[in-house]
């Protein structure tokens, strides 16, 4: 399985957001999409599963043109977790079952129900299955929403800032879930992130967006402090703690004083 993205361009009301994004992603790999606020991370993810229609460019999944697929077919190949989602009152079971929607013709089959149970167990939230989703904590809810995307049985998992608004433990659990899902289902994932240190822990490749183009695309081992400085405009130093590579930001140039 191979995802091949070539020359994606997208504009909101004539102001270009993405100006020719290209990359390849192999099965079993996690791509971290990083960049400053407004760099187009969310837009890129939404272009991939056709929530937004890019102006030009092509997306090939196993040599199949995603633009020639119907919306249900796209949903069977791309599982999507948006950055923000409204409160919902489904039970956790029903919320995850909704991920089977692209496959369900009339009503959910026994197979669909077993997939949901399997996912709930894998995410260790089967004890929450009958609880309404609007009574869950943020971390639990994030797992449910990821579970829903996994129920789509995707080839590619698209996650838009899945760790923002989560506490430390939940952040780690969520990145573990993503890593495990990629490994066990043998799929790939594209994750937009703000936290560089978290990204360094679990992604395989970095895609840094700047000014609507790919500033650099490389395995995470190749990321240098200079790259990060160029993208974020913050001086950083890189170090190792207990085998984890970490980035520590130095001070930014002070903004003009308020006085």
């Amino acid at each position: 399985m191979n995802l091949k993205v070539v020359g994606i361009q997208f504009s909101y009301n004539h102001s270009p957001v993405l100006d020719g994004i290209s990359f390849n992603l192999a099965r079993g790999q996690i791509l971290g999409v990083l960049g400053v606020n407004g760099a187009g991370k969310s837009t890129l993810l939404k272009c991939l599963n056709r929530i937004l229609s890019p102006k030009t460019g092509s997306i090939l999944l196993n040599e199949f043109d995603v633009h020639k697929m119907c919306q249900n077919e796209v949903a069977r190949h791309f599982g999507y977790v948006p950055q923000k989602y409204p409160e919902e009152s489904f039970t956790v079971f029903d919320a995850v079952l909704l991920g089977r929607k692209p496959y369900i013709k009339w009503s959910a089959s026994a197979h669909d129900l077993m997939i949901v149970e399997d996912i709930l167990r894998r995410l260790n939230i089967e004890n929450l299955a009958q609880r309404p989703a609007n009574q869950l904590s943020g971390g639990e809810l994030q797992k449910v929403v990821i579970g829903r995307a996994l129920a789509q049985e995707p080839d590619v998992l698209l996650l838009d800032e899945p760790t923002s608004n989560l506490d430390l433990k939940n952040q780690l659990q969520v990145i573990n879930i993503i890593s495990r899902a990629v490994r066990e289902y043998n799929i790939s994932a594209i994750v937009s992130l703000h936290d560089i240190n978290l990204a360094l822990r679990f992604v395989d490749h970095f895609l840094m967006l700047k000014g609507g183009v790919v500033h650099f695309l490389s395995p995470k081992e190749m990321v240098t402090p200079a790259d990060i400085e160029e993208v974020y405009g913050v001086r950083v130093i890189m170090s190792q703690v207990n085998g984890h590579k970490i980035i520590v930001p130095m001070d930014v140039e002070p903004e003009r004083s308020l006085e």
Binding site: F90, L98, N124, Q130
Partner: protein, 373 residues
């Protein structure tokens, strides 16, 4: 992965498959299906009671014989020509308004939405009043104010009033959709827009009345009270037919409705053509509300009340919510109409007044209870 955020106990559940979670899920759904069946039985009992209630006493046996066609004479006339039309009208309009309210709530992801709170009903009422007074449709419709005189209500006037009611309803719907879609207004703001639309259409109706003759004013004023007693079998049949079609559409789209309630982006990620479902769905919901309003006047709060009671009983899954909203809508409207007949004796109290009296406090109660849960 080195970070050990998942414990060993979590590891052990990783591949276990037992079906226990599925069973627990089904155990939760089953009583909701049973309750739905019980409600339908309750509705049948309510229908029989409603036939029995009235100034002309009929025994239960005679009612059953009349319904099955074994009875001739006055009982048959009372059952079939006087009581049944308004009962069936209440069932059909209640079902339609419950469905319409549920659909607008889910499609706009707005718990406060309903044909009444969005101004759709008022738009329909204005359209109908306009056609009665200005277009003269009502001159042919005069006898429709009395109950069940099918022959004098010509096809032409049904279509004129209906068409204008629908135009009014769809105008309100289009404004709401534009505000919701392009201006991305919050649910509360949408309801405020609905209030503005309601006032606009209501003052339009008053303006039409100002230029009307006294007879026409009386007719329009009487007409704007929600009342299920004024329709004939032809209108009931038309509303019933449309309601069944719209019901079928929403039943087929129940997974799409479920997806849309989880947010537009999630729904699109699940392969739902959100714009098409929302546009067509709102159009159909407005159509049902428009017909119900054209034939029965404004029946307030029912479209808000029925789906909310349904949500309390059935949860969020539209596979259950749709039948619940329909059955509860029919039950509430028939109950209100029957109560109205009992309270006033041989006359009737317009059911719209009663649904407001029942609907507003029950809705407040549901809101308060909802906040404490």
């Amino acid at each position: 992965m080195k970070s050990g955020a998942l414990t060993e106990a979590e590891e052990s559940t990783w591949v276990e498959k037992t079906g226990r979670v599925v069973e627990a899920h089904q155990d939760l759904v089953r009583p909701k299906v049973q309750l739905l069946l019980a409600l339908i039985c309750g509705l049948v009992v309510l229908v029989i009671l409603a036939i029995a209630v009235g100034s002309y006493d009929i025994s239960l046996l005679k009612i059953l014989r009349s319904l099955l066609g074994f009875e001739n004479g006055p009982q048959r006339i009372v059952v079939w020509d006087i009581r049944m039309p308004r009962i069936v009208a209440a069932l059909v309009a209640g079902c339609g308004l419950g469905l319409s309210g549920l659909a607008t709530q889910s499609l706009l992801r707005n718990p406060l939405a309903s044909p009444f709170t969005l101004g759709i009903s008022q738009g329909a009422a204005f359209g109908a009043a306009f056609s009665i007074v200005v277009m003269g449709a009502g001159r042919m419709q005069e006898s429709a104010l009395r109950t069940a005189d099918a022959n004098s209500f010509t096809v032409h006037s049904i279509y004129a009033v209906t068409l204008f009611a629908f135009l009014g309803a769809i105008t309100a719907t289009v404004v709401i959709l534009i505000l919701a879609r392009f201006k991305k207004m919050s649910p509360e703001a949408i309801i405020l827009a609905g209030i503005a639309l309601s006032s606009l259409f209501t003052s339009g109706t008053i303006l039409v009345q100002y230029f009307a003759t006294e007879v026409e004013i009386a007719r329009v004023v009487f007409w704007t009270f929600g009342d299920v007693a004024r329709s004939n079998w032809r209108e009931i049949g038309l509303l019933g037919f449309v309601t069944v079609l719209v019901l079928a559409y929403f039943v087929f789209n129940r997974w799409n409705l479920n997806a849309i309630t989880t947010g537009e982006e999630t729904a699109r990620g699940l392969g739902v053509d959100v714009n098409r479902v929302r546009l067509l769905g709102m159009f159909l919901a407005a159509l049902v509300a428009a017909l119900a309003t054209a034939f029965h006047g404004i029946i307030a709060f029912l479209g808000l009340l029925a789906p909310h009671i349904g949500r309390r009983l059935a949860g969020a899954d539209h596979a259950l919510l749709i039948p619940y909203a329909c059955v509860i809508g029919a039950m509430v409207l028939l109950f209100a109409d029957t109560l109205g007949r009992m309270l006033v004796g041989s006359g009737t109290l317009p059911v719209g007044v009663l649904t407001s009296f029942m609907g507003a406090p029950v809705f407040l109660y549901l809101l308060v209870r909802g906040l404490n849960r």
